[in-house]
């Protein structure tokens, strides 16, 4: 298997529950996020959702796993962004 076909499991954590999804290293991250949210019973738009690593780094869901240097099984955390309110 060449590097472009490499598959592994990402565990998306949503509200304290784990949702393992098999992904391809070149796949757009948001495809996996869509699947995880659907499994969590929250299908639909990704608007307002944020994806972070365990260290808190925000991940651009439009990039690929390879772009973000995620090359093997990893746990990623999904939660809603700050949303409304706040001050400049």
């Amino acid at each position: 298997m060449n590097d472009n076909e490499k598959k592994f499991e990402i565990i998306f954590v949503i509200q304290g529950k784990e949702f393992p999804i098999e992904v391809n290293i070149n796949q757009n991250i948001k495809a996996g996020v869509h699947k995880a949210l659907k499994q969590a019973g929250q299908p639909g738009s990704l608007e307002g959702w944020e994806l972070r690593t365990e260290s808190g780094e925000l991940i651009d869901m439009n990039s690929s796993y390879k772009d973000k240097n995620i090359t093997g099984p990893t746990k990623l955390f999904l939660s809603k962004g700050a949303g409304r309110g706040g001050f400049y």
């Binding site: 509200q15 304290g16 929250q42 962004g81 949303g83 706040g86 001050f87």
Partner: protein, 186 residues
């Protein structure tokens, strides 16, 4: 105007205070301890059941009705600060949220460098006379301030206001790689 209805605009008060509508002086009010106790136990059960998965990000420090203290951990595993959740009138009102130092003292401001703005450059952790105000849906302070625009009753059972979501959302506003989160002058 019907009895008990409060005008949305309070005349002759500063603009910012108009938003604080004096609807009810709920800052220290305890509505029904039996009701809030039931909801408090539900929240504690949810946190104990689902919180373990976040063990390297946050953990429960202390539970004493109606308060829950959450340790926020740095990327090195040390306690950076504490999120204090007061569920005194939950879920008629949202949880009141405070930010404490690791030794449980109220902090009035955070190091600006440690506050992460949202994707529009807006910060949601704001210095306030009575401690840091967490300005985000799901907190008492937010829904009280935006009472006429954003009603807690309409979304308290929704995803955005889930207790785990609120904790994670607040932590997402903090740069956990920084060691000095609390402002040195506080």
């Amino acid at each position: 105007m019907p009895q008990g209805q409060i005008p949305l605009i309070i005349r002759e008060s500063p603009k910012i205070d108009r938003r604080r509508h004096l609807r009810i002086n709920a800052e220290l009010l305890l509505l029904d301890p039996n009701v809030s106790n039931v909801y408090f136990k539900n929240v504690v059960n949810e946190l104990e059941e689902k919180g373990k998965i976040y063990k390297d990000i946050w953990k429960i420090k202390k539970i004493f009705y109606p308060n829950i203290f959450i340790d926020v951990l740095s990327t090195k595993g040390e306690t950076l600060l504490i999120i204090s959740l007061n569920l005194r009138n939950y879920n008629y009102f949202p949880p009141q949220v405070g930010i404490l130092t690791p030794d449980e003292k109220l902090t009035k401001r955070l190091n600006p460098d440690a506050i992460i703005p949202d994707d529009q450059g807006i910060k949601h952790l704001i210095k306030h006379n009575r401690g840091v105000w967490v300005c985000t849906p799901g907190t008492y302070e937010y829904h009280d301030f935006y009472y006429d625009l954003d009603r807690w009753e309409l979304e308290r059972y929704g995803t955005t206001c889930n207790i785990i979501e609120i904790i994670n959302r607040i932590i997402g506003m903090i740069d956990r790689s920084k060691e000095n989160i609390v402002h040195p002058d506080d």
